[in-house]
């Protein structure tokens, strides 16, 4: 029985993983040797501000309350889940007093828009070109592409990103050097605004497709090359089966199996943002937000973004698990 024997245990596992992940996210900051309340006060003091000792007591209480640090750990933990169930991650400190969920909502479309597009594009590009190169692996052009990929891949991402930025944003001013859209322009569904967003997204997207595509290319080429040497492909060739049929039904069909899983995992990682991309191109996405949260010690914001990321990855893994038997009959629900 699919329901009883597979789906329900799998769903329980899904919720358990989310539960454990978020629990860990809850406890790790509390086990850390820094106290966020003291840190905030020290920060205020370091700016040279004089604080009245009586005032400090009030501040500590208020901050403790806002950080969700009042009461025992158990009470805090219960409270944390109650608030979480309402979608309330608390208030951000780095942009006080905006709720965390509000900040995430603002950054999410930028990150998802950019990363979803680049992930899918580089996956498609890498797999199609890599597949063809793997099929014709002894040809000159295939070897040339392989060499190029081998050359591009090890370049550190920030070098590529900065290089593109300097070249096309500064030397040749073809694209803006940062931001998600021109500052001061109101978001709207007009052609001008969409063009503006695309122009801003172009360089970050290019940098990611370039490196991501090269990586997908290499994996895909290798997989196709291996599948091509499999007995069942040799047998089909031995049997005089038409080449187009061998290519699609025998080689690509089988080579896609691991790549589908890899795509889903990459999509799941979108919600943790692309930190370096967003910093280099000052892109207003989740990675940027997370970075600011970490540098300012904004625990609520960190917990909010990481929780979201945990849910995204586990959900995509669940979806892949459920869909996989459609692609590979050897995987069956017991």
């Amino acid at each position: 029985m699919f329901w009883r024997d597979y789906l329900i245990p799998r769903l329980l596992q899904y919720f358990l993983v989310i539960f454990l992940g978020i629990t860990i996210v809850f406890f790790i900051p509390r086990l850390a040797p820094t106290n966020p309340v003291e840190r905030t006060i020290a920060e205020v003091r370091s700016r040279g501000q004089y604080l009245d000792p009586a005032h400090i007591k009030d501040m500590v209480d208020a901050l403790t309350e806002m950080y969700g640090l009042s009461g025992s750990w158990w009470e805090q933990y219960k409270d944390f889940w109650v608030r979480l169930s309402r979608g309330d991650f608390g208030v951000s400190f780095f942009q006080f007093p905006t709720p965390v969920i509000e900040l995430i909502k603002r950054a999410l479309p930028w990150t998802v828009g950019l990363l979803f597009t680049t992930t899918v594009l580089s996956w498609l590009f890498g797999n199609i070109v890599g597949g063809m190169a793997g099929y014709a692996h002894s040809r000159g052009w295939s070897k040339l592409l392989d060499f190029l990929a081998m050359f591009v891949r090890p370049i550190p991402y920030y070098v590529v990103a900065l290089g593109l930025l300097i070249l096309f944003g500064y030397v040749y001013r073809l694209f803006p050097i940062g931001g998600g859209a021109t500052i001061g322009v109101r978001p709207s569904w007009t052609l001008a605004y969409i063009k503006d967003v695309l122009r801003h997204a172009f360089l970050p997207a290019l940098s990611m497709v370039l490196l991501g595509g090269a990586s997908w290319f290499q994996t895909s080429k290798l997989i196709v090359q291996n599948v091509k040497a499999e007995d069942f492909v040799q047998y089909a060739q031995l049997g005089g089966i038409r080449e187009s049929r061998i290519m699609f039904r025998y080689i690509i069909r089988n080579a896609m199996l691991p790549q589908v899983t890899n795509l889903a995992l990459s999509l799941g990682q979108i919600l943790s943002g692309a930190l370096i991309t967003e910093i280099v191109f000052s892109y207003p996405g989740l990675g940027h937000l997370l970075y600011s949260a970490i540098t300012t010690g904004d625990y609520n914001l960190i917990m909010g973004i990481i929780s979201l990321s945990i849910v995204a990855i586990t959900t995509l893994v669940l979806i892949v698990d459920l869909l996989y038997p459609l692609f590979d009959p050897r995987i069956r629900y017991k």
């Binding site: 007995d231 040799q234 049997g239 005089g240 049929r245 039904r249 199996l257 692609f327």
Partner: protein, 339 residues
């Protein structure tokens, strides 16, 4: 033998694996001057120990020569509809069309030869649609079903995925598939290896049934002399890339001439005989570094000085031929006269 009886013949066939190794090339002489004539309507056996070039010979006969294997010399002639042609003179398309309709192949190791993500009936369909024109998918499935039924296999396997079938069943499906388009020649490379004897019997029976039904030629490679005794009409023994003896199977078992063949036959257990079995001493030679003269001489208890120096040519004794100096008085006399 009438020439019209011959469906396949080779002339001095040589196929070597040419490998690039540091400091030059390494040549593995897997098929090194093979002369064969195989008739219509017979099961022809090729026997020999592992690494003697049996499978390479099969591939070369099937014109399935991929690098690093290379056809170095010689030709393979098939005769189809009374016309003889060199299979290596055909282009890629002609060769593709010849496969499965005229000659089919059962490769070694049927465990992994089927596409794991499609059902067996889809594999049938791929073979049918690549070689027949103007059939609908339903017609092709229907043909597959009829074919499976005729051979006495369960029809349910068509709906199965390869991993749901046992090893023996997969082997039988591979054989059934080879017979699908009623080819004139079927190559079967070690079809019974890795199966237990009970399943082996079923596989052997299937091969025999197909041959009786189609009256075609089956070329069967196995190192199992028991299978050869049961199935084949004529038998050749391969050693180090050459055929050292060939005769009717009964004749080979009754009257083996080559010392190596004698070892092979004498190593088989017999009813009532409790004596110790003797096998050929030593190891098979490396095909990359063959001994001089007769390749068997380092292991041969009856080796003579000439065996070390010159390779024996075939000596024909009626339908029985053997490549050994013991039986080549004429060659020996020649050698004595020359030195």
């Amino acid at each position: 033998m009438k020439p019209s009886d011959v469906v396949l013949r080779t002339e001095n066939l040589k196929a070597h694996y040419v490998l690039d190794v540091p400091g030059g090339q390494k040549v593995v002489r897997a098929v090194d001057g093979v002369e064969l004539q195989i008739r219509r309507n017979e099961i022809y056996g090729i026997a020999g120990e592992s690494g003697c070039g049996k499978s390479t010979l099969m591939k070369t006969l099937y014109a399935w020569v991929n690098r690093p294997l290379r056809l170095v010399e010689g030709s393979v002639f098939y005769s189809k509809d009374g016309q003889e042609f060199d299979v290596y003179a055909l282009n890629k398309q002609e060769l593709r069309r010849l496969r499965w309709t005229f000659m089919a192949y059962v490769p070694q190791g049927a465990m992994s030869i089927f596409n794991p993500v499609i059902k067996i009936k889809e594999t049938y369909r791929d073979f049918l649609s690549s070689h027949l024109r103007g059939k609908t998918v339903e017609e092709m499935f229907e043909m597959a079903k009829e074919h499976i039924e005729q051979l006495g296999l369960p029809v349910s396997i068509l709906e199965a995925y390869p991993h749901q079938l046992s090893g023996g069943m997969r082997q039988r499906v591979a054989i059934a598939l080879a017979a699908l388009l009623r080819p004139s020649v079927i190559f079967a490379d070690e079809p019974t290896t890795a199966l237990d004897v009970v399943v082996q019997r079923g596989v052997v029976q299937l091969l025999k049934d197909i041959q009786e039904r189609l009256h075609n030629t089956i070329i069967l490679v196995t190192h199992d002399m028991g299978i050869h005794a049961n199935v084949t009409d004529r038998l050749c023994i391969m050693y180090a890339g050459r055929i050292i003896e060939e005769a009717a199977t009964v004749e080979i078992f009754k009257n083996p001439l080559h010392p190596y063949t004698q070892f092979l036959i004498n190593s088989l257990p017999q009813f009532g005989d409790t004596g110790e079995r003797v096998s050929a001493p030593g190891q098979p030679p490396s095909l990359a570094n063959l001994p001089s003269g007769c390749a068997f001489h380092p292991r041969c208890p009856q080796a003579m000085p000439i065996c070390r120096e010159r390779r024996p040519e075939d000596t024909k004794l009626g339908e029985h031929r053997v490549a050994c100096w013991l039986h080549a008085e004429r060659g020996e006399a020649e050698y004595a006269a020359n030195s």
